[in-house]
């Protein structure tokens, strides 16, 4: 049986010439690029970190995986929520153009699709991949199903 489309809001983002979509509920904000702080690490997808609203947010270039090459320029960072088994954290995704909020019906992914594809939607004649950020971005273990978790950024505070 073909799954029924789900109507919801999505943010369209641009990576070079291609567009992708992310569930709007996973997006916190769109911000101008700021200074990226880099330090040694072994996770290739992570470029560094930015400071946003007092939080230290990892910058993750997903273009290498989605379009086959890293971005040489970026216009904005899309601040998104990434769910882990222990909670939710912000991540910053570099994008190369304006983002757009749309309402559309998503056809859920099937078994033949790659793990980072949550589904597909049709917009202005284009068929666009809806991204599953939990599968697309690095993390310690498989993420749980989508929930409305609000516990952001654990901190070892001295307060």
């Amino acid at each position: 049986m073909t799954p029924l489309p789900e109507s919801a809001s999505f943010v369209l983002l641009r990576l070079s010439e291609r567009r992708f979509a992310v569930a709007a509920s996973d997006i916190a904000e769109l911000v101008a690029p700021s200074r990226v702080f880099r330090f040694p690490h072994m996770t290739n997808e992570v470029e560094g970190v930015v400071v946003r609203r007092g939080r230290i947010v990892p910058v993750i270039d997903v273009a290498g995986r989605l379009i086959g090459r890293r971005l040489t320029s970026r216009r904005f960072y899309l601040i998104a929520q990434r769910r882990y088994t222990t909670g939710t954290e912000w991540i910053a995704l570099p994008v190369t153009g304006d983002c757009e909020l749309i309402f559309s019906e998503m056809i859920p992914a099937n078994e033949a699709d790659l793990p980072h594809v949550a589904g597909w939607l049709s917009h202005n004649g284009d068929v666009i991949e809806v991204l599953n950020l939990n599968a697309l971005t690095p993390g310690p273990s498989p993420a749980p199903p989508q929930t409305s978790v609000a516990d952001n950024q654990r901190q070892e505070a001295f307060l």
């Binding site: 040694p40 072994m42 996770t43 400071v51 230290i56 993750i60 901190q155 001295f158 307060l159």
Partner: protein, 205 residues
């Protein structure tokens, strides 16, 4: 009408840290974790070369009491370009002496953010977390993360094979090392308790 009593402000806990550089990269370490700071020159006389070590970042050992301290090249540990180390940090409650290029300054951090989970590889053993000092983001190193129990075991077997346990004894020894590391990890000292060793520039020999 009586106004509610104002909430008492909680005293801000802070931790003394040393900002230091390796190959141009800035790091922080808790002052309480550093037992001693020495210049490389003063260490040279007492260091012994390790002839055949599979652990590239360790080339020398220093005898301290009953134990060997292993001198870790910070640049190799963090996969940074080679640099000229001028100082050595003897790290408390570890068997590590860390080669660093120099000390930037000593300061205080009031907040340590856990390393974001997007960092999911070896670096999770390297850092306690990240802090921001003067709007600069600095990783705070984990003293016990420079040498794993397996690496210590491999080094011990090269440096002093007679003292290296074998068979079940080896497993017990490694388990003890891991337990000691876990214990050190959970022991986050916020006090600047290094004593006199780091109190003045003159102690940096």
């Amino acid at each position: 009408m009586r106004l509610p009593a104002p909430a008492k402000a909680q005293p801000v806990r802070s931790e003394q840290i040393i900002l230091f550089r390796i190959s141009g990269q800035l790091f922080a370490v808790s002052s309480a974790s550093v037992q001693e700071v020495r210049s490389v020159d003063t260490l040279a006389g007492s260091a012994h070369e390790i002839p055949q070590s599979e652990i590239r970042k360790v080339r020398h050992t220093v005898q301290r009491g009953e134990h060997n301290l292993y001198v870790v090249n910070g640049a190799l540990h963090f996969n940074l370009p080679p640099s000229h180390a001028a100082l050595v940090f003897v790290l408390r409650r570890t068997r590590t002496a860390l080669l660093v290029d120099g000390i930037e300054k000593m300061t205080t951090m009031t907040r340590l953010q856990a390393l974001p989970q997007a960092f999911c590889n070896e670096e999770r053993n390297w850092y306690r977390g990240i802090t921001a000092i003067d709007q600069i983001v600095v990783p705070v190193v984990k003293p016990e993360g420079f040498l794993t129990p397996d690496e210590l075991f491999a080094l011990d077997s090269v440096v002093d094979p007679a003292l290296t346990p074998t068979g079940e004894e080896a497993h017990e020894a490694q388990a003890t090392d891991r337990a000691a590391q876990d214990s050190a990890t959970s022991d986050v000292s916020s006090a600047f308790s290094v004593g006199t060793t780091l109190d003045s520039a003159s102690s940096i020999q």
